[in-house]
Structure formats: structure tokens, C-alpha cells
């Protein structure tokens, strides 16, 4: 149910983003989706990658600081109000969202959004009890057709 996300520390200077991407490209590793968080001083790139363990080794060899975090992928109806419904469900369960970002592909008429919770297991239980579809590893990577 939970999927592994890789986070990479980036210094805020030219060329910092291309280094990890180049390392993954040379290893033939595809990035399913990513998000960037940045401040004036530094940034954090978060990556969803099917072969995350291999990717981690490749990035570390390239000199990156990498952290593995468990995140939750949730299906959201791709129509006005779709995300609001899910968020209301999460809010009702009093679960704190650290951050979230969307996938680049759709699953039928649904969008997929990555959520970072402090307690992913508790969040999954709460979401499922509200009938929100949490996408598992297999389903996710199948849909991404990798």
C-alpha cells in the first residue's frame, strides 16, 4: 500500500538539478514523477521510481544525500471537487499532510496524488474506511507501464 519515495538534497546553485537526473538517466532508470521544494538556500527533490533501491545506490554513488520515505498514492476523481473530497476525508480523520504532489499520468478517469503523512499506516486505515482508493505498488507501477 505504501510506496517508497526517494528524497535528494540539492544545493541552490546552477546545475544541481541535472546531476541526479543525469546519473539516473545513465543507469537507465525512469522517473515516474517528482516534486521540488526549494528555499533560497537549498532544495529537496522527491522522486517516485519503480526501481527505487537501485536508484538510491546510483544517486549515492553520484554523491547525493538520499533518504527513503514511505508515502501513500491515492486515486482522485479527475473532475472539479475530486481533490476536495479526498482532502475532506483526510481532514475528518484528523491526519496531518506534510506535503503532496500529483502524478504525471492518469489512471482511467482518475488522477493519482502522492501524500506524505507522518503516520502512513494510520492514514491508509482512515482513508480506506472512508472508501478512498489507496493505490498499491503493483497497481501503480502497472499503470505507469514501466
Amino acid at each position: 500500500m505504501k510506496i517508497n519515495q526517494l528524497s535528494v538534497f540539492l544545493e541552490n546553485k546552477p546545475g544541481q538539478l541535472s546531476k541526479p537526473c543525469r546519473a539516473l538517466a545513465e543507469a537507465g532508470i525512469n522517473i515516474l514523477t517528482l516534486s521540488l521544494a526549494d528555499t533560497q538556500q537549498f532544495g529537496i527533490m522527491r522522486l517516485i521510481i519503480h526501481q527505487w533501491a537501485k536508484a538510491k545506490a546510483v544517486l549515492e554513488k553520484a554523491g547525493c544525500v538520499v533518504k527513503v520515505t514511505e508515502v501513500v498514492a491515492i486515486e482522485v476523481s479527475d473532475r472539479p471537487g475530486g481533490l476536495a473530497e479526498v482532502l475532506e476525508g483526510i481532514e475528518a480523520a484528523a491526519i496531518n499532510i506534510e506535503y503532496m504532489y500529483a502524478f504525471t499520468f492518469r489512471s482511467g478517469d482518475k488522477a493519482i496524488i502522492i501524500f506524505r503523512f507522518d503516520d502512513p499506516d494510520g492514514a491508509i486505515r482512515a482513508l480506506q474506511s472512508k472508501g478512498i482508493n489507496v493505490v498499491g505498488n503493483v497497481g501503480l507501477y502497472d499503470r505507469a507501464a514501466v
Binding site: 540539492l10 544545493e11 528555499t39 529537496i44 547525493c64 544525500v65 520515505t69
Partner: protein
């Protein structure tokens, strides 16, 4: 074994109390003599010293130049008119040009390691060796040593003063000595365990290595018979003390000395651990601004400068140690009336002057230790783009410090910012950088880049 019920960190932050983790004992009554009496003794010994130094060409010339002599020493303030002695002066008179007694009176010769150029040698008469042993006995007893203890000495026995200095101090107290010397840590561990040493004497970094080696062989270092540790020979931080105490389950004491002055025994901590008591009946200490050689404001860090009052073979006047520390002459709960020095926070060679404030790389390191437990690689970059100095501290991010949460990373940066400000009193830019991006030369990290120097601004 734990002797101090609460954590040392708490004990440090509280006001000194008359409560000690072990019996507070005084080795020599000279340690508790009234301050005014000691000053009188210092003055008398200073005049005698200046008279004796007429036989040393360096001082003879200096006195002739300035018209100074023993008859001119009327008060301790007259010390300020006496010449300064530096390491370079000792080098210039290599090997033993500062000898103040006939060669046949010399009983032993020690030397500094001489990492830069030739070593510098120092000589002792039999009387000097006895003084030295007594001074070491003073701080050992202040730090809990008792005649029934067994002391494991893992200092090198050689030209370096650590091994022999502590050895004879322990002997005077009447404790048993295991002269293990340095090296072969697994064997040291075996000796400590099998011979049941309660006291460890070595450098603080070697104490940590002993703990590390114990763990790697599946042995809990806290289960060793050790109860006390007397560490010196290199600068160390308060955090290192806490780590050593936690890992080895001991009380760790700091002592200070340098071969030019006498070796270990110049100062050492008592049970109150509020600084190292300087043996002022044998040494006069000054705390000077390294640039102007004027005294710093009381309580401010400055370069320690020592005058050896009683040394026979190799007496020195106003010797610049290049060590930076603070002096404190407030009363100590242990009853000793001597001034105390705080731990050495840096060397004059490393000192940066930023917006008029003296800053040492070791202070930035201490701030990083406080935030992250162990210090990551860092680099201090100083520049003066306009009228003001600006400092950026580059800190390498390590996997254990990194989080995918922006809030945590921001708070790490802010914590470092706060601690650096708290320790140095200056605001510095904190920049988190990728690992292995800061320059390392020959295993040693480069700590400072000062663009002001390149620009000819300093």
C-alpha cells in the same frame, strides 16, 4: 560505574554547589593559601627569577636593552615591563640556549613534537622534576585520585611530557601505575580489564578510541572497571567530555600544560569542574590580546602567557602559549584560592577577527556538535564585500541529518544559526551543502577561507 547522579550537562549549567561526587581533598596547602599571601610569594619569586635569568643570554640582553633588573621588580605590575618570550625565540636558541643552570645540573630533557620544523627542547633539574611531580599530584588528587587506585597511563613515554609527567605525579600520590604507553588498543583494553584500573590517563581522543575498540570487540565500554579519567595533551570540547563520560561510565577531568612551561600540571580541574586551577605559586598567568599584547577585559578570551616562577633549568618569562582561553578568579566551591582557566578554545594561529570579535573555528565546531551530536564537515568563508565582514558557514549535509520534510531542514538550519550565534556572539550565514563538496587536504579538512586576505584587507 556512575558516580555523579545527574547528568554532567545539568551539573555544568547549575551554579557550583558544595556538593561533590567524591571527597574534595587538597594535596598541597599552597592551593588554598590566602590570595594576598600568594601574591606576596609571587612577587618574591619573580624578583628571584629575574636575578637568576642574568645567566641566560636572551634575557641578559633584553634586561640590558630595557634597563630592567631584579631591583626594579617592586610589584607584580612590573611584570608587564619584562620581555615577552616566544616559540620562535626558543627555536633561535636551539637546542638549549635558554638553559639557566650549568649543564651538569640537568636531570632530564623533554621536547615538543615539532610538527612544524625542529622540536624545541626543555630541560629539568632534579628539583624541577620534583616540582613537576607535585603539580601533577595536585590535579590528580583534585580529580579524585586515591592511593588505593590503579592508574592506566596510555600517554607516550618519551620526549613528550605526558607520560613521564603523569607517571611521577601518580607515584607521589601513592597509587599503582600501569605504564601502558600508547598504541595497540586491544592490548590496552585487556590490561585495563585484567589489572582493574579505576583511572585512565591519556588524550581525550584516545579515550574515545578505547571505547570504540571495546564496542567493536563486543565489550560494553561502560562495564570496564574505570571510574575516573584525566585527559589532556590536546584541546577538546564539553560535548566530547559528555560523550567520554557516557561511553566509559567515568568522570572525566581536564588538565593543561605545555612542555615549555613544565608539561602537564600547569593547571587541572577539581571536583567542582568549573575550570582548571592554575598553580599560581609556581606560575604567573596573563591573558593578553594576541595583537596588542595588552590584557583583555576580565573574563574575555585571550592568549595565555606564563611566567615560570620556580623552574631552575629552563625558566621563561612571559612565554606566549598561543593557546586562547578565559581566566576566572571568582571563588571556587572546592576552596582552592587559585585562578582558573577555561578549556582552551583555540590557537592564536587559527583566530579570525570578524567585525572586531575574535572567533575560532573550534567555536563553530562546538555549535555544530550541539545541534547534530557529531560535527559534520564545515567551512568558514569570510569576506568583506563592503564595509562589513560577512561570514558564511558551509555545512555538509549527512544522511542522518537529511529529511524529506522542508520544515525539518529549515529548523536544522535555524538551530545551527542559533547555536553559532550563541557560541560566537556573531550572526553568520548558514549554508547547507552537499556531502564531499568541501575541500579536504591530506585527510585534514580545510576550515577557513578568508577572502579578506586575498584582497589585502587584513
Amino acid at each position: 560505574m556512575r558516580l555523579w547522579p545527574e547528568s554532567s550537562a545539568r551539573a555544568e549549567s547549575e551554579k557550583p554547589r558544595m556538593k561533590f561526587p567524591f571527597e574534595n581533598r587538597i594535596w598541597d596547602q599552597a592551593e588554598i593559601m590566602p590570595v594576598a599571601d600568594r601574591r606576596q610569594l609571587q612577587l618574591q619569586r619573580l624578583a628571584e627569577l629575574v636575578a637568576r635569568l642574568g645567566s641566560v643570554p636572551f634575557y641578559k640582553q633584553a634586561f640590558a636593552r630595557t634597563g630592567l633588573g631584579p631591583e626594579k621588580i617592586k610589584s607584580l605590575d612590573d611584570l608587564r615591563r619584562l620581555p615577552i618570550t616566544t616559540k620562535a625565540d626558543l627555536r633561535e636558541h636551539y637546542p638549549l640556549g635558554f638553559l639557566a643552570v650549568p649543564r651538569e645540573k640537568v636531570a632530564r630533557i623533554h621536547g615538543s613534537s615539532g610538527t612544524t620544523g625542529k622540536p624545541t627542547f626543555v630541560a629539568y633539574t632534579a628539583g624541577d622534576l620534583e616540582t613537576w611531580a607535585q603539580l601533577c599530584a595536585r590535579f590528580l588528587v583534585a580529580g579524585g585520585l586515591q592511593p588505593e587506585h590503579t592508574v592506566h597511563i596510555a600517554f607516550g613515554y618519551g620526549l613528550f611530557t605526558g607520560g613521564f609527567g603523569l607517571h611521577y605525579g601518580v607515584e607521589r600520590v601513592g597509587a599503582a601505575i600501569v605504564p601502558a604507553a600508547s598504541g595497540n588498543t586491544p592490548r590496552q583494553l585487556m590490561l585495563i580489564q585484567d589489572l582493574g584500573a579505576q583511572v585512565l590517563v591519556c588524550t581525550p581522543s584516545y579515550a574515545l578510541q578505547i571505547a570504540e575498540t571495546a564496542r567493536s570487540t563486543g565489550l560494553d565500554p561502560a562495564k570496564l572497571p574505570l571510574e575516573f579519567g584525566h585527559f589532556g595533551g590536546e584541546p577538546w570540547t564539553e560535548d566530547m567530555r559528555l560523550q567520554i563520560e557516557r561511553e566509559l561510565g567515568i568522570l572525566a577531568f581536564n588538565n593543561y600544560g605545555l612542555s615549555e612551561v613544565i608539561g602537564p600540571g600547569v593547571s587541572g580541574e577539581c571536583a567542582a569542574r568549573t575550570g582548571m586551577h592554575i598553580q599560581e605559586d609556581h606560575f604567573i598567568v596573563e591573558c593578553l590580546d594576541p595583537d596588542t599584547l595588552q590584557p583583555v577585559e576580565p573574563g574575555q578570551p585571550g592568549e595565555l602567557v606564563f611566567t615560570t616562577l620556580t623552574k631552575e633549568a629552563f625558566p621563561l618569562i612571559r612565554y606566549r602559549t598561543r593557546d586562547i582561553a578565559r581566566l576566572d578568579d571568582s571563588p571556587c566551591p572546592c576552596g582552592r584560592t587559585t585562578a582558573r582557566m577555561d578549556r582552551v578554545i583555540g590557537r592564536t594561529d587559527d583566530m579570525l577577527i570578524i567585525r572586531g570579535v575574535n572567533v575560532f573555528p573550534s567555536q563553530v565546531e562546538e555549535a555544530l556538535l550541539r545541534v547534530e551530536g557529531t560535527a559534520p564537515h564545515y567551512l568558514i568563508e569570510v569576506d568583506r564585500p563592503g564595509a562589513m565582514d560577512e561570514v558564511t558557514v558551509h555545512v555538509e549535509i549527512r544522511p542522518q541529518d537529511f529529511s524529506d520534510k522542508m520544515s525539518q531542514m529549515q529548523s536544522l538550519r535555524e538551530q545551527i544559526d542559533r547555536e553559532v550565534h550563541a557560541v560566537t556572539g556573531l550572526r553568520m550565514q548558514i549554508k547547507l551543502v552537499e556531502p564531499q563538496t568541501l575541500e579536504r587536504s591530506a585527510g585534514k579538512a580545510k576550515r577557513v577561507i578568508d577572502h579578506r586576505r586575498e584582497k589585502g584587507l587584513i
